[in-house]
Symmetry: C2
Subunit: 205 residues, 2 copies
């Protein structure tokens, strides 16, 4: 791509470093900013800088937070004896949206993935194990994505905490509510059959 302006080229190249944004998309976004009032670019730049420099991660659960301890961990009505282990903060947002879970979270920051160079030490695992060791935790719920990496990570953590007096569980996998059986993939359908539950338990209460 030949640019008539170095400034434009620089902006496009920086924008194109974001995941899923190619050069053409970056050019479209940058040209859009050029057509908008200067304030929009200024506000975008300021918001990104402020966020990058001032955002904190909760000291307890590693969720993104504006304070040292996040709102969920600081909420006295949450059950501190149940910890739901998730990959990243988007999972916390998704689970919070259900309004079902009243325990605390623990954000790992990723999954063990040797191919991507991510080992256990890059993830927030030690602090989770320490929480379990402290004896206040009754149940750890694994809610990682059900991929090879997710399973590996679950198992790695499980091995480290199983000897302490703690219950471990995994969120249920199965056919999504409202989905047709015929369109479900075989692995999900097979698992959903093997891990069937008593009918009375399947009724919405």
């Amino acid at each position: 791509m030949e640019f008539s302006s170095k400034l434009l080229e620089k902006a496009v190249n920086e924008m194109a470093q974001l995941p899923g944004i190619g050069k053409r998309t970056a050019l479209r976004l940058v040209l859009h900013l050029l057509k908008q009032p200067k304030e929009q670019s200024e506000q975008l730049a300021a918001a990104l800088l402020t966020m990058r420099h001032e955002i904190k991660f909760c000291k307890s659960c590693h969720n993104i937070s504006d304070t040292d301890v996040c709102e969920i961990c600081a909420n006295p009505s949450r059950d501190t004896s149940v910890i739901c282990v998730v990959e990243d903060i988007r999972d916390v947002m998704a689970l919070e949206n259900t309004g079902i879970f009243k325990g605390l979270y623990h954000v790992l920051g990723g999954k063990i993935s040797p191919i991507d160079g991510i080992g256990p030490n890059q993830l927030n695992i030690v602090s989770l194990v320490d929480k379990v060791k402290s004896g206040t935790v009754k149940e750890v719920i694994f809610a990682l994505s059900s991929t090879m990496e997710g399973d590996t990570t679950n198992f790695y953590i499980y091995k480290q905490i199983k000897d302490y007096n703690v219950m471990t569980s995994a969120i249920a996998r199965g056919i999504a509510i409202g989905d047709e059986l015929e369109y479900a993939d075989e692995v999900t359908l097979g698992r959903s059959l093997m891990q069937r539950i008593p009918f009375e338990n399947s009724l919405n209460k």
Copy 2:
């Protein structure tokens, strides 16, 4: 979407103002920046700000430029008597990539589109007509997209310059080279038939 951090929310909302970027994508982009070194966010913000504040539009053709007159207009080997009228600078980039055109461009900055509130006065039309009036232009080539708005804009400009001693032309529309006839849309195919050219002229030289 419920955010655990106001700083994060602000960054996502600013990012989501870009065209084609929804809240989910914005969140993904912003979380990516959080995982990268601070320098990446700083460079992105700086590049956007510098571009927005310092970029210039060529005084002659309105192409984006770092100087008062763009490289194309300032190039003494370009033919100043032929002007190709385009919608925006991406069209200039596309045409320059062909390496075929040796004249100058005139970037309108859009098309006449009453629905979007864009009238002739929002576009760089007066400066084009002035160039034609000055008598140095022999040919004006219309290269807008062939939509209702493009045709309207072409015709609006045509009416204003036709009485001056200038040739007007439009880029050829037809079946793209390498495309199968059976997959071409009827309008394109019909036009391509009506606007057929002598066979000798169709051979690559």
